[in-house]
């Protein structure tokens, strides 16, 4: 009996200890679990691999990464997430796919995780994540469907997110006596002057489809334009939209040779190889400029805010991470996402060569990068509504606008007429998809 009592006390003590350990280590219940992550094979996600190893060491949760070229991710993810039991536990999506994923019921609302106290790190500080990034990459619902609102919800956390800034060749602008452009008028003047001096001015995307549309949208938001008004009427033939298209034509005429065939890679290469004096696109150019294996312009590049016109407004894009609805390891997946987007990880990823999502990291600027103060200043006016992230966007983006804008930059046809035609086509698609059912 005495022995029984002693062993009972010992067992209770052991139980209490083990519970204590479990409380002290929220990862303990998921130790040995393997989660599969679908990531794009770009620089940010490649350097994050070191962080993933550190995550496994610290938590005991194993991670398998399935890398794919970013434009191929969507097909694969859709196929996996449509199964009853998918292979993926974490997916990273390009922000423009989030509406489609949620619309098809493929993602887990993060509220399911945030209501589980055992999973949520009290020091996480979600408010520190740049608001435009969080809205753009993770929020679905609201009145427009892709922005916050009373009917909106959080489905993902930004990771590998970005905004646009102006990068310029300090040496060339100084040589030509050109001030760093702060407005679009100044930018146009600078482009013209550079062109007259025989220097290719602004590099830009221009390939048919998504690329040329993105290039136009970069200028549309600051010029005060939108793709739709509040009632889903297309307004891509508005004076602002036509002005942005005409600006794009000017970019092609004064920029490096070949813009109508440039994707993101081609247009950055033009700048990195010294074939363009100006760059107005994703902040990723800064890290690329520093990489001397790819860049001839390291040390010659300055950064400035995205020029303003009718308003200030830079793009918000890149990726966000969430959990498929058919994941079998949702809790471990959430812990992974939380770890990878924590304050410590955000600082660490900067050291590794990736892009931060937190304001505190940008302000702290642990590596002393030139562009961080600019990005920190840019983010408050980054526009999460610079393109409509509705499920139909892909068709409008590639089929209608991508074609119309190619005509703008490869022909001398009347821009207003081209955009009028595109506007009619967009309206027909929106009608087909039932957007005017309540009008």
């Amino acid at each position: 009996m005495k022995l029984n009592l002693t062993s009972g006390i010992a067992a209770l003590a052991a139980l209490a200890f083990s519970i204590g350990v479990a409380w002290a280590n929220p990862y303990k219940p998921y130790e040995g679990t393997t989660i599969v992550v679908s990531w794009p094979s770009n620089n940010h996600f490649k350097v994050a691999e070191t962080l993933v190893e550190e995550f496994t060491e610290a938590t005991g949760i194993n991670v398998e990464i399935d890398y794919l070229q970013y434009l191929k991710l969507r097909d694969r993810q859709l196929l996996e997430m449509a199964q009853a039991e998918g292979e993926y536990d974490v997916v990273s999506w390009v922000v423009m796919w989030k509406g489609e994923y949620v619309n098809k019921g493929l993602l887990t609302p993060l509220s399911q995780m945030y209501t589980n106290a055992g999973l949520v790190d009290p020091d996480y500080d979600i408010d520190d994540i740049a608001d435009a990034y969080l809205q753009n990459g993770g929020v679905v619902g609201g009145q427009l469907g892709y922005l916050p609102g009373k009917s909106g919800g959080l489905y993902g956390i930004p990771f590998g997110a970005e905004t646009s800034i102006l990068a310029y060749r300090k040496d060339i602008l100084e040589e030509q006596g050109i001030e760093v452009p702060k407005t679009y008028d100044e930018l146009i003047a600078a482009m013209t002057k550079l062109n007259e001096a025989g220097i290719p001015a602004l590099t830009s995307r221009g390939a048919t489809g998504h690329q040329v549309t993105a290039a136009w949208l970069f200028h549309l938001a600051p010029m005060g334009g939108r793709v739709f008004d509040k009632n889903w009427n297309p307004v891509v033939n508005s004076p602002e939209a036509v002005k942005a298209a005409e600006f794009l034509r000017h970019v092609v005429k004064t920029g490096p040779t070949g813009i109508p065939s440039y994707g993101f890679g081609d247009m950055t290469t033009a700048f990195l190889q010294g074939d363009a004096a100006l760059y107005l696109d994703s902040l990723k150019i800064a890290a690329l400029s520093r990489d001397e294996t790819r860049s001839k312009v390291n040390g010659k590049v300055g950064y400035a805010l995205h020029p303003t016109d009718a308003r200030c407004g830079s793009e918000t894009g890149g990726f966000a991470m969430g959990i498929p609805a058919n994941s079998q390891n949702k809790e471990a997946a959430f812990l992974f996402i939380q770890w990878m987007t924590s304050k410590d990880a955000d600082r660490r990823i900067v050291e590794l060569g990736g892009d931060p999502i937190r304001i505190s990291t940008l302000k702290e600027n642990p590596m002393g990068f030139d562009e961080y103060p600019v990005v920190a200043e840019q983010l408050p006016c980054a526009d999460p509504d610079w393109r409509p992230l509705i499920p139909e966007w892909n068709e409008l983006n590639t089929d209608v606008l991508g074609q119309a804008l190619t005509r703008v930059i490869t022909t001398e046809d009347d821009v207003q007429a081209i955009m009028d035609e595109a506007n009619d086509k967009i309206r027909a698609i929106m009608e087909r998809e039932g957007y005017y059912a309540w009008q």
């Binding site: 489809g209 490096p256 040779t257 070949g258 109508p260 065939s261």
Partner: protein, 320 residues
Amino acid sequence: MSDTANPTIDSARQDQPTPVKSVKPRIQAGSLTPYMFVTPAIIVMLGGLLYPIFMAFYLSFYDWEIGRPFSDAPAVGMANFIRMIQDEQVWEVLWVTLRFGFWTITIEMVLGIALALLLEKPIRGASFFRTIFILPLMVSPVVVGLIWRYLFDARSGWINYYLTTWFGMEPLVWLGDPQLAFFAIVFTDIWQWTPFIFIIIIAGLQALPSEVVEASEIDGANWWQQIFLVKLPMIQSIIVIALLMRIIDVFRGLEVMLIMTGGGPGRSTELLSLHIYKRAFETQQLGYASAIAVLLILVVFGLSLAILNFANPMKTRSDV
């Protein structure tokens, strides 16, 4: 009479224990054996060839997006086909495909046959040239797309480099101008597929009986007459097969265009197969993409039938 004529058979018959029952199964087994041999091939054909074609037809009557369960996909009857007929994009890319097919196949046939005739004889270095000529055929289409994309690059491509430095020309925006981009993909296709025609034709030429050619020589036929009146008519069936294979391939292939131009600028290099790919995987309209795929099957089938009707290799073979 027969008894004396064939005593061995008769004696054999007498030895047999009148096996009436065993004759019937032996005949059945004999007639089934060939079918048993071809059954695996038929199963593979049905599974690998007919099933996807059947599914393309089946899907074309549904409105299905990747990511949604197929059970939720509404049946839309002929709506996809009606939309296709009204869709100017489909006719635009079909026209691009036909133009592309016309230029590439015509030039490839002429060049391939000409090269085969030149290298048919055992001249010095013929085997070296033959190997060189078939090299492009060994390169994967994706790599071909990448190679030529960089060669045609407006800013740093070799083609522009030599045009500007040797000829003092302004750099051309090869892949960013609708006409030039179309020329670029035609050129690339000719580079890759002329060797295919060459290799088939040269095999045909080398298999020709030398007596016929020698006889024509004795009859006084000159080099041109030998080619146009003897050699080419004799390998007509091979030429038709090569032509058919190229036609099918032109409508099927999309990798090179996908890598080089993505179908742009505009739709100037968007072939029907690439358009189907974009419809299926970019805009996720699998049902509609299937309807266009049915059109593709019908066009290829129609063109193949027309050519076979005009010059059927089987018929030619039996005539010979």
